[in-house]
């Protein structure tokens, strides 16, 4: 199913059967439960996979599927509701004996006569700095960091208002901000008979705006003992509301080596691919088997046994239409060139091609580039090569950042924390160096003979040739219409015309 924005998208064209569900605004298409159930009914679907993002974690969609007699490929509506409310999840998981990030277990009142005083008292118990978080939150929305008591009230009001707009629920709570902590999450699969396994963990510490940029499996530097510990904590957390199908339990790993529970995402995650590569398990296929009522198979159980001591290392980078020079601001435009890397150990999951228009309508994610190799250093080397091979024209992407991090010493040593990007990414000099190279290349491009075809451009530069290129109407260098007068002649003419009398 697709909205009007995606009507010409490669994945829509690749589908055997595609159904339009509405206009560009997500509220009228990808967030419209009625339109989605209608499309599933119309196409005679037995089951519906909600993907990630949009309605994938909403109990509302799971219930609507049940009412329509369609199998929802994901956890039950009860699990989605119980774990979807971050506060109810924190309470239940804490009662089950899993350490949760210190903070409040009940909502903070933001309005009312004594609200400000009570909130301040509870904040003092949590300690500074702290985070104000939305109970219904996700994707960094409804989240504020507060360093001083004086800023608390404003942050509470802002976060609550933002959460009410984004999720229809303005409940907020407080959580201690853990400095130099890592984000470590565990991939879980559960079947309808009640078995739950962990397929390994991922480190997703490298984030901007509380959204992940780089993810890897396994988390670097953990001992098999630490892996077993966090896998067991994740399974314990998932048991609180029962889990059939796929979910991810997220933890903070403090500098002292202790794990603290954050939340459970009751869906397939964007970064599930790195776990697929390392475990050898096709997670979407397993989701379908589980939804069809099968128990976890032999291969899944074996992969779970091997998870504490994985035999390979996978890294994913998110290639998004964002400018890494200006705070990863999303950019729009038309992709004019798109060339993906390839070869052994490379996987690219993409939804665009040359000619695709990048709009501000949805997430700026264009592609996920994944690499796998026997160990982390070889995986990083492979990533460096693949990022250099990835060519995107027409829009700025996050590729310069990925090129940098793949060669960064701290990242190479596995020293990551959630503030990594803010603390270490200084794009100015890196971009300037590239700009100077770009200037030399642009100048050299004027020496490429006019009629030389682009594809064979490498061998087509006459030695020592300074022949000016023609005036042009855009397009590939060399493939343009040659004109008798080159730019030099035109330039001279222009200068004569504009010379002040």
């Amino acid at each position: 199913m697709y909205s009007d924005v995606d009507a010409e998208a490669p994945h829509v064209r690749a589908a055997d059967h595609a159904v339009r569900i509405g206009p560009p605004p997500a509220a009228d298409s990808y967030l419209d439960v009625g339109a989605i159930i209608g499309a599933a009914r119309m196409s005679g679907a037995d089951a519906l996979h909600p993907g990630y993002g949009f309605l994938s974690e909403r109990a509302l969609l799971a219930e609507a599927c049940m009412d329509a007699g369609i199998v929802f490929v994901g956890p039950s509506a009860a699990t989605l509701a119980g774990l979807g409310d971050k506060l109810s999840a924190r309470r239940a998981v804490s009662e089950a004996g899993v350490p949760v990030v210190p903070g409040t277990l009940t909502p903070i009142a933001v309005a009312g006569p004594e609200a400000a005083g009570r909130a301040a008292a509870r904040a003092e118990e949590v300690g500074w700095p702290l985070l104000v978080k939305a109970a219904a939150g996700g994707g960094g929305r409804g989240m504020r960091r507060v360093d001083r008591a004086g800023d608390l009230q404003a942050a509470l009001l802002a976060a609550s208002a933002e959460a009410a707009t984004a999720f229809g629920d303005g409940s907020v709570y407080l959580e201690r901000y853990m400095d130099r902590a890592r984000h470590v999450e565990v991939q879980l699969l559960g079947d309808q008979a009640g078995a739950i396994v962990a397929l390994g963990e991922r480190d997703c510490s490298v984030q901007r705006r509380h959204q992940k940029l780089v993810e890897e499996a396994p988390a670097p530097g953990l001992t098999p003992g630490q892996r077993r510990e966090v896998h067991a904590l994740a399974i314990q957390a998932a048991r609180t509301f029962g889990l059939s199908n796929a979910a991810t339990a997220e933890f903070l790993l403090g500098p002292d080596g202790r794990f603290w529970f954050l939340e459970v995402n009751t869906r397939l995650q964007v970064e599930h691919g790195v776990t697929e590569l390392v475990s050898g398990i096709d997670l979407v296929q397993e989701q379908l088997w589980i939804a069809a009522g099968r128990q976890l198979g032999e291969r899944v159980l074996e992969a779970a046994d091997a998870a504490p001591a994985p035999a390979s290392h996978a890294i994913e980078v998110r290639v998004s239409a964002e400018d890494p020079a200006v705070g990863f601001l999303p950019v729009t435009g038309v992709i004019t060139a798109w060339r993906e890397p390839g070869g052994p150990g490379i996987r690219v999951d993409s939804g665009v091609e040359a000619g695709t228009r990048v709009t501000a309508e949805y997430d700026p994610l264009l592609a996920k580039l994944l690499v796998i190799a026997p160990d982390r250093p070889s995986s990083l080397a492979r990533l460096r090569r693949a990022v250099d091979e990835f060519h995107v024209g027409g829009v700025q992407t996050t590729l310069p950042f990925h090129r940098w991090i793949a060669g960064d010493r701290e990242f190479g040593a596995g020293r990551v924390w959630t503030g990594f990007v803010d603390d270490r990414w200084h794009p100015g000099p890196i971009r300037e160096m590239a700009a100077r190279r770009a200037a030399r290349l642009a100048a050299a491009a004027t020496t490429i003979p006019a009629r030389a075809p682009m594809a064979a451009g490498d061998g087509n530069v006459a030695p020592g040739s300074h022949r000016p290129g023609p005036d042009h109407a855009g397009g590939t260098i060399g493939a343009e219409q040659p004109r008798a007068a080159g730019w030099a002649t035109a330039g001279r003419r222009a200068a004569v015309e504009r010379w002040p009398r």
């Binding site: 770009a438 290349l441 642009a442 004027t446």
Partner: protein, 180 residues
Amino acid sequence: MTNPDGEGRRKLPHGSDLPGRTPDVRGAEALRVTIGGPDPIVVELEPEPQLGPEAGRRVHALARRADDVPGSRRFEVVVGGWRFEATVESAAVARLRERGRRSTGRTRHERLVLRAPLPGRIVGVWVSRGDVVEAGQRLCSLEAMKMENEMRASRAGTVEHVRIEPGMRVELGDELVVIA
């Protein structure tokens, strides 16, 4: 305009002249490259043909735009994942243009000189020295090729000189009225 005026101009190690110097005989060869962006980078350099193969892979010609400087070419260049828009033109031409712009700029700011667009005969003068004129106000009338052409002020100001009187013959480019 794609070409900023001098601001933020820097030089490559192998760059040629400082901008603003008299173009020398190599002037036709040297190129000025402007890398666009919020903080544009302007360099002058000579093309290095040995970079051609790499340029063939990383440089893509962009379509001309209406406001492009004549004789300039625009390229998209992708280096290390960074996407740049580069404008390339002859360094000598760019300097000439800048000089031209500077002098017209001074004229525009300090005084407006109204010159005869055609050879002809003055048939009417409606202002005299010291008059304050509005933009669009008529100043004089020139008969040429059996047509009467009204000359109007392109901006407001004070009339500094009137070089003409009715019945006078003028040649192309002669000064008619000066507005300060």
